[in-house]
Point group: C2
Chain length 221, copies 2
DNA sequence: AATAATTTTTAGACAAATCTAAAAATTAAT
DNA sequence: ATTAATTTTTAGATTTGTCTAAAAATTATT
């Protein structure tokens, strides 16, 4: 059973949204794809029928394992093509997105396998985003920015990107220090602030500005 | 006004057919695209509306200058991608067609420009077919097989691919010799035989087998 | 808790590309 | 030159993905 380009675009978008919020809303998808909420509902029915997502009327939805694997396949293709465009064809990193959006829908396992090999099996694309392997496994960067950590993920503070005394005072106040474990509980879309649990004990809110200066080593759950 | 993938496939097919027969028939397109004659008629109306072809009901049709330019753009992309797949990604020459059929529809002038440059501005694809340049100009191979010469094209016999006495006897009988000018008058689909005028005087029929052994330098009309 | 606001779904319509079956036009054959 | 066969077109239906407007469900507010 083949998947259309439109379906692929929905799957990719839903995947990206459910990285941040566990359940995805109809309106969020509509906004991301610049379409109407009614169209999203229509597509949700189709994707449910194809057993790619878990969905109950009015209750939000998310991709199931099958859907996630499908999404990772599309993201893999997208990022391999971006790598190709920048590394091989000399595109600038900010010129590649539109073209990669088209190339990611080309259907040929052989093509992707050869492209991957030609590029030297890259683990990260030119933007630094991880490229899932053929099985859907996502490489973990040793150290990532806290803003990159998805909801529910855990990490250990490995570096701070500033030495300002104001910032150090704030960290002391929130009991955040190098080596502390941190778990992302919730990400607030409005101001991009993050609720985290420190050392599996205290819940604190971290502003977007502070998060940009904190780096973590991810911990497998 | 943008052109859909379906429209592009029709345009490419019509172009290829009108290389052989001056006017193209509804059924020929339907057969080539494995679709119904009714669908072809529907599409012809759309393409006429977009001013890409000359069409009158029941009277056959052909691409106009605008349509030919569009077709050449698609063929250029197809052949550049085939070159990329074989030369860069190590595909075998007989594995590339299906994938190139998809890649030829990617819309990005910049992508094709960069790809062309990366490949070293190739003039011919791995099958030996000419790659139109960005302006639609088709490179002429010094010497091509007679079977490659389209209807109405002229050439000068430049080589014969066999020295068998049977063949030489046949050539003498038809008054074909090195340096003779040859003009393709008609190509018969049934047995792929060709009617040609020799030295702008005598009309003779050349079998597919004989044509395969004759090479010509093309002459601009 | 009742009402208001928001979100989501349904209902009905539309455009693109296709189909089948039947009608119209052209071409071939007796 | 009629009739038969073939080709092409029309008419009407279908699928996919979309839309708007209205109804239903949920969430927020007073």
């Amino acid at each position: 059973m083949s998947i259309s380009v439109a379906e692929e675009n929905y799957i990719k978008t839903i995947y990206q949204l459910q990285m941040h919020e566990d359940l995805v809303s109809t309106n969020a998808v509509a906004a991301a794809l610049q379409t109407s909420a009614a169209s999203v509902t229509d597509m949700l029915k189709k994707l449910k029928l194809k057993k790619l997502l878990v969905y109950e009327k009015y209750k939000g939805f998310k991709l199931n394992q099958q859907g996630i694997q499908t999404a990772l396949g599309i993201i893999r293709k997208h990022r391999l093509w971006e790598t190709f465009l920048v590394n091989t064809l000399q595109f600038k990193w900010d010129e590649v997105h539109e073209v990669a959006e088209q190339l990611e829908h080309i259907q040929s396992a052989q093509l992707i396998q050869h492209l991957d090999q030609f590029l030297g099996n890259p683990q990260f694309d030119p933007h630094g985003d991880p490229i899932p392997d053929a099985a859907g496994k996502i490489p973990i960067r040793e150290q990532i920015n806290l803003t990159q950590l998805p909801v529910h993920a855990m990490g250990k503070i490995s570096a701070v990107g500033s030495q300002s005394s104001d910032m150090l005072a704030l960290l002391r106040h929130k009991q955040i220090e190098l080596g502390a474990t941190i778990k992302v509980e919730q990400i607030f879309a409005f101001d991009e602030s993050i609720d985290v649990t420190i050392n599996q004990a205290t819940l604190v809110n971290i502003s977007a500005k502070l998060a940009k200066h904190l780096y973590v080593k991810t911990i497998a759950l």
